[in-house]
C-alpha cells in the first residue's frame, strides 16, 4: 500500500494571530489557491470559528475588489 500523501499545512496556530480583517489582503492571500479558492480548514490550519472569520473576510475583500473571485 502506497504511503498516504501528506500535504503541507500552511501554518497551524493562526488562532493566536491578530484579528482577521478583510483589509489585510497580504495575510488573506496566503489562504487562497492560485485560482483564488479559499483553502480548506485542513490546509489552512484554522479552527472552526477562525475559518468562518477567514471565509467572511475573504468574501468581503472580494466584494470590494481587493481579492479576485477567480484568479
Amino acid at each position: 500500500m502506497a504511503p498516504r500523501k501528506v500535504r503541507a499545512v500552511i501554518g497551524s496556530k493562526h488562532c493566536d494571530d491578530p484579528k482577521i480583517d478583510y483589509k489585510k489582503i497580504d495575510y488573506l492571500e496566503k489562504f487562497l489557491t492560485p485560482q483564488g479558492q479559499i483553502l480548506s480548514r485542513r490546509r489552512s490550519g484554522f479552527c472552526t470559528q477562525c475559518q468562518r472569520q477567514l471565509k467572511q473576510a475573504i468574501k468581503r475583500a472580494r466584494h470590494v475588489g481587493l481579492l479576485p473571485f477567480v484568479a
Binding site: Y22, K23, R60, R62, H63, V64, G65, L66, L67, P68, F69
Partner: protein, 147 residues
C-alpha cells in the same frame, strides 16, 4: 458604530479630492451620522473590473447613525453613480490610530497624488506583449523564407 468602505470613481477624485471626499461626508451627515473618522484608505487596482473601471479610490469612514436611517443611506450610495461599490459593517469600536490618520488628512501639508490612468498598466502590458508577438512573427516569416 458602523464602518463604511466606499470605492469612488477615480475620475471624480481627479477633479478634486476634497470635493470627492465631501460627497461621502455630506451623504453621511444627511442621514444624521456622527462621523468619527473619514479618510482615504488607498488608491489601487481592482482585482476585477467594476463598472468598466480598473482602478478606484478607497475611502473608509467610521460613524454612528440611527439604525432606521441605514436603509436610506444604503439606497443613496447605490444611486450615486460616483460610488462604484460600498461595504457597510457594524463594528465594535473605533480602531486604534484611525482618528489620528483621519486628522492627518486635515493637515495643511497633506496632499493626495492624482490617481493614475485607469488602463495605464494594461496598455503597457499589451504593448509589451504585442511587440514580442510581432518580433516572433517576423522571425517565423524569415524562417519560412529561408526554407
Amino acid at each position: 458604530m458602523y464602518e463604511a468602505m466606499v470605492l469612488l470613481d477615480n475620475d471624480v477624485v481627479r477633479e478634486g479630492y476634497e470635493a470627492a471626499k465631501s460627497t461621502l461626508v455630506d451623504t453621511l451627515q444627511k442621514y444624521e451620522a456622527t462621523v468619527h473618522a473619514c479618510r482615504r484608505w488607498d488608491e489601487r487596482r481592482l482585482s476585477y473590473p467594476i463598472r468598466r473601471k480598473n482602478r478606484a479610490t478607497y475611502f473608509i469612514s467610521y460613524f454612528e447613525m440611527p439604525g432606521d436611517k441605514i436603509p436610506s443611506f444604503r439606497r443613496e450610495l447605490e444611486f450615486n453613480e460616483n460610488v462604484l461599490r460600498y461595504l457597510l459593517l457594524a463594528v465594535d469600536g473605533l480602531p486604534e490610530g484611525e482618528v489620528d490618520q483621519a486628522k492627518a488628512e486635515e493637515g495643511a501639508d497633506f496632499s493626495v497624488p492624482p490617481p493614475p490612468e485607469d488602463d495605464a498598466i494594461e496598455m503597457d502590458e499589451e504593448a509589451g506583449e504585442t511587440s514580442d508577438l510581432d518580433t516572433d512573427d517576423d522571425d517565423m516569416i524569415l524562417d519560412d523564407k529561408e526554407d
